[in-house]
Symmetry: C2
Amino acid sequence: MADAVDLSPLTLNRLSLYLRCLGDLEERGVSRVSSHELARRYHLSAAQIRKDLAQLGEFGIRGVGYDVRHLAARLHSRLGLDRRHPVLIVGMGNLGSALARYPGFNQGCFEVVAGIDNDPQKVGRKIGAITVRSTRDLRRLARETGAEIACLAVPAEAAAENFLALCEAGIKSVLNFAPVRLEPRRGVRVKNVDLRTGLEELAYFLRE
Amino acid sequence: MADAVDLSPLTLNRLSLYLRCLGDLEERGVSRVSSHELARRYHLSAAQIRKDLAQLGEFGIRGVGYDVRHLAARLHSRLGLDRRHPVLIVGMGNLGSALARYPGFNQGCFEVVAGIDNDPQKVGRKIGAITVRSTRDLRRLARETGAEIACLAVPAEAAAENFLALCEAGIKSVLNFAPVRLEPRRGVRVKNVDLRTGLEELAYFLRE
DNA sequence: AGATGTGAATGAGTTCACAGCT
DNA sequence: AGCTGTGAACTCATTCACATCT
């Protein structure tokens, strides 16, 4: 099957998940795995795993399963994880600071290269491996670091203006933690991560 | 339309979103709003808003729109947000500490009532409004606070055992931040929030 | 006139079931 | 014999279009 097809976000998120499962298997020294085995171990659906993987081409071995390392490498490159991704964090409050130190944001191809805040009190402070910089340096920072991805972790009321600044600094993708719908901008992809929504979903299912 | 129908998680998340939009409108002093106006302001779909809201019963006014306060109140109660929800946080590392102080987790019906960690160094420390408690106190804490919801913010390798402990302490809903699929337990609802997946999704769309 | 509420049409995503390969 | 890869069936979700009400 062709390599150019676009994957849906749903498929994409599952592929990320499979990749992590494969990493786990690799660590455990497992070298081959079937869709059923994957499903059993990680509570997934075998049919769906096959459908998802089939979109990346045929490289399962019928009667046997998949080669763990080969599959992981294929996923890796298909997901765009085979090149470095510097990440900027805007808003170094509690959440921004936690993200800067979050292992998942500083592993493999991802690296948090700078934190940005407009509070002069915070500028210059070291948080984890990075130093907090002023919002005014945003454009220069983006250019110098080559960052295309930014996390927006500012309060709701500051989200719109900071998002605009990110767009103007040439950022291409934004992971938005502010509980706000950002005005769509062409050429800039936004993924909203609303932590509160998760809680509300759980609360719903607690009604008797 | 009946009140007993179960809402899908997708619908549910949008209803949460609408609720926040209505809050914003209320603050701005807007008292009536149409589905089109909501869609325009917050970049949503008018048809979908109507479909979603219709599931909660008829209380729009044809030719006019919806009463902002009335609609907000209805959503509120339908989502189960009209009673208090004490929240426990397990794992007081960077992420757990940030969540404990996160405004969205300490607003309205939600309140973080305790943080839990098995590191004796951390036990007793104050973080935001709460004090860190030992994992051994989990069961008692759950009973005393009446918490039904917990956030799991421990490293991947500690997730399974802590999840088990939560289940045994009688927790009903878990917001899981660990990049791990938890073994399903009947009677316990899990919502996975994987921050890394968000980054990976963005990285995918940066491939040329 | 203008907006809601809703069946009908369309589209997306998942599961089934089995042909085909190793 | 066993597992992949995939069309077909099915379920779930969104969009359309309009009758219905204020």
